[in-house]
């Protein structure tokens, strides 16, 4: 620790470009989004634009009968994706956290990170080739005589969730490794030497201690999957409609940026609630008893 900590040093000025970038291209734009959502048109170029709550009314009253369904579908896909990502991510993270071989650890880590280096569009494409009617799974099942008609694996929520899980499992694993790795392995060994079976030692010692990590990873995956656009659009086709897809429609086909702004504010509020919970859990993680 340096003796003087109170006064900012000249180096502090190096923060200026970042502050400028974030104010101009992050804080102000999100403010603009909120403003746009409360106007009838573009308040700068259109002098007849007036303040209105009609975009929110349109969403809340939902006369078209699609917005509430879209919100519900977004949350449902997010929830199912999160649960399956946890079921897949936890064993992998546990395996890595308890692996004593350095080489094995870095090989598995590379395998987990490799999908992150391929873009979302590419990974969604991969799942389309696997799950479509003439895709890998249906072709093989028909060849083997197990089925006669292709199974509907894509253009529905099932296909959407499968591809989303594949995309977000690495985030779950990376969050969990740290937490499981910090649980003292000797606690589990103590439980076992006192007569608990391996499963019981896991269920009663390791699992409860990794609960904060499970919550943090789940909130992260949930926040990511409710804002996904590419995967539900391509894997869901016309049978899936989520909030981000609605926003895309309002910009791309209907050109109603004001209503898009209102939908954006709804998605933003949902995400902010999750992010706040996520940060609360992460900050509590630091002082968790039983963590080394």
């Amino acid at each position: 620790m340096s003796p003087t900590i109170s006064r900012p040093s000249p180096i502090a000025w190096l923060v200026a470009p970042a502050v400028l970038l974030f104010v101009l291209f992050f804080v102000l734009p999100f403010g603009v989004m909120v403003v746009m959502s409360a106007y009838s048109g573009n308040p700068v170029t259109n002098s007849h634009a007036y303040l209105t709550v009609r975009h929110y009314e349109r969403f809340i009253l939902d006369d078209a009968g699609i917005y509430h369904d879209a919100l519900w579908e977004t949350l449902r896909i997010g929830l199912v994706t999160t649960i399956i990502s946890l079921l897949i991510g936890y064993p992998l993270a546990h395996w890595m956290a308890r692996m004593h071989s350095r080489l094995g650890h870095s090989l598995v880590l590379m395998a987990v990170i490799a999908p992150l280096l391929t873009g979302i569009v590419v990974r969604t494409f991969a799942w389309m080739t696997i799950l479509e009617d003439k895709g890998v799974i249906n072709t093989l099942l028909i060849q083997w005589g197990a089925i006669h008609k292709p199974l509907p694996l894509m253009y529905n929520e099932f296909g959407t969730v499968v591809a989303l899980v594949h995309i977000y499992v690495p985030f779950m694993v990376l969050t969990l490794i740290g937490v499981i790795g910090r649980i003292d392995e000797r606690l589990e060994q103590a439980a076992r030497s006192l007569g608990a079976g391996r499963l019981r030692a896991f269920m009663e010692v390791t699992l409860p201690l990794s609960l904060p990590g499970i919550l943090a990873g789940s909130l992260l995956v949930f926040a990511l999957s409710i804002s996904a656009y590419v995967t539900p659009s391509l894997m869901g086709g016309t049978n899936v409609l989520t909030l981000p897809m609605l926003i895309g429609q309002q910009i791309g086909t209907n050109f109603n940026p004001n209503f898009a702004g209102a939908l954006g504010v709804v998605l933003l509020i949902v995400t902010l609630l999750i992010v706040i919970a996520y940060n609360k859990i992460l900050s509590r993680l630091a002082g968790e008893p039983g963590m080394a």
């Binding site: 340096s2 003087t4 109170s6 900012p8 040093s9 502090a12 000025w13 190096l14 923060v15 970042a18 970038l21 974030f22 992050f26 734009p29 603009v32 989004m33 170029t45 897949i88 064993p91 992998l92 395996w95 395998a111 490799a114 999908p115 280096l117 391929t118 873009g119 979302i120 569009v121 590419v122 494409f125 991969a126 799942w127 389309m128 080739t129 696997i130 895709g135 072709t139 594949h166 499992v169 690495p170 392995e185 076992r192 030497s193 926040a223 804002s227 656009y229 590419v230 659009s233 391509l234 981000p244 895309g248 910009i251 940026p257 898009a260 702004g261 954006g264 998605l267 933003l268 995400t271």
Partner: protein, 275 residues
């Protein structure tokens, strides 16, 4: 923990539970990796539709990709944007990390969380908010606007890797240089900068990939005929699902790998494996 810490009594002749545990994890790893391998197969499979099993090896999809002017314009734009983002985010993010770690700034924890927040908010909303702002001030959708948008979401990655290095290295090295008579500028250029360089460059690799593979932020910020590669591929996939996409995917993966390797060659592999 050493291997001797595990009591030998726990070892059984054949550990069924342990074997099932490893088998389960191998299956889960296969789930993560096989889809990427399948893209590789389809990139070289000559049939006009995605078909399985593959019938041969051909380069026709790579030819289609590299001879399509839409694909090539998009690839060029994506590379240009990613290169600009790489440079900008290194400069802005590197400077910002130094200020956060060495500037004695008040409210440092809050500032760090603030600069990380583009990673937590839906990227599609960042794109939407910028689209609406550009619309409001009437500047349309310029390429520099796209570059700034990508830089915004890339800076947190540079911050993360650089701050990790700055927290790890011993501050007394800088103090020693100062005590031995080096001016603050000399300490910075001859001690601090070389030490944080691996972290900054590792962040730069992430920044390049984040920009090159970026879809949600770009979606509303590109103009027709001026789209980045992921947007072009997305639009193509809505109607056609042939090997050209697989070939394009392979090219993307190889380019990302190429950037990683090039930076490794430039600054040394070991420097950022340790992060």
């Amino acid at each position: 923990m050493s291997a001797s810490g595990v009591p030998l009594a726990n070892k059984r002749p054949f550990d069924l539970g342990g074997a099932a545990y490893v088998a389960l994890n191998v299956v889960l790893l296969a789930f993560l990796l096989l889809p990427i391998l399948i893209v590789l197969i389809f990139a070289f499979n000559p049939t006009p539709y995605i078909s399985f099993p593959p019938v041969g090896v051909s380069l026709r999809w790579f030819e289609k990709f590299f001879s399509g002017s839409d694909f090539m314009n998009a690839l060029g734009l994506s590379l240009f944007v990613a290169a600009c983002v790489l440079v900008l985010s290194i400069l802005i993010g590197g400077a910002c990390s130094l200020a956060l770690a060495r500037g004695n700034l008040p409210g440092r924890a809050f500032l760090t969380a603030f600069f990380m927040s583009p990673l937590m908010l839906p990227a599609i909303l960042t794109g939407l908010a910028l689209f609406q702002s550009y619309l409001m001030v009437g500047i349309g959708r310029p390429v520099w606007g796209l570059i700034m948008a990508h830089t915004l979401v890339a800076v947190p990655y540079v911050l993360r890797t650089t701050l990790a290095v700055l927290h790890n290295f011993d501050r007394r090295i800088e103090e020693a240089a100062a005590v031995l008579g080096a001016s603050p500028a000399r300490v910075f250029f001859e001690v601090t900068l070389p030490l944080i360089r691996p972290g900054v460059f590792a962040g730069g690799v992430f920044a390049f990939i984040v920009s090159f593979d970026q879809f949600p932020v770009s979606l509303f910020l590109v103009v027709p005929k001026g789209e980045t590669l992921p947007v072009v591929l997305f639009n193509y996939m809505k109607f056609d699902l042939d090997g050209a996409i697989a070939a394009a995917s392979m090219v993307s993966i190889l380019l990302a790998l190429g950037v990683v390797l090039a930076l490794e060659w430039l600054i040394g592999l070991k420097a950022y494996v340790k992060l």
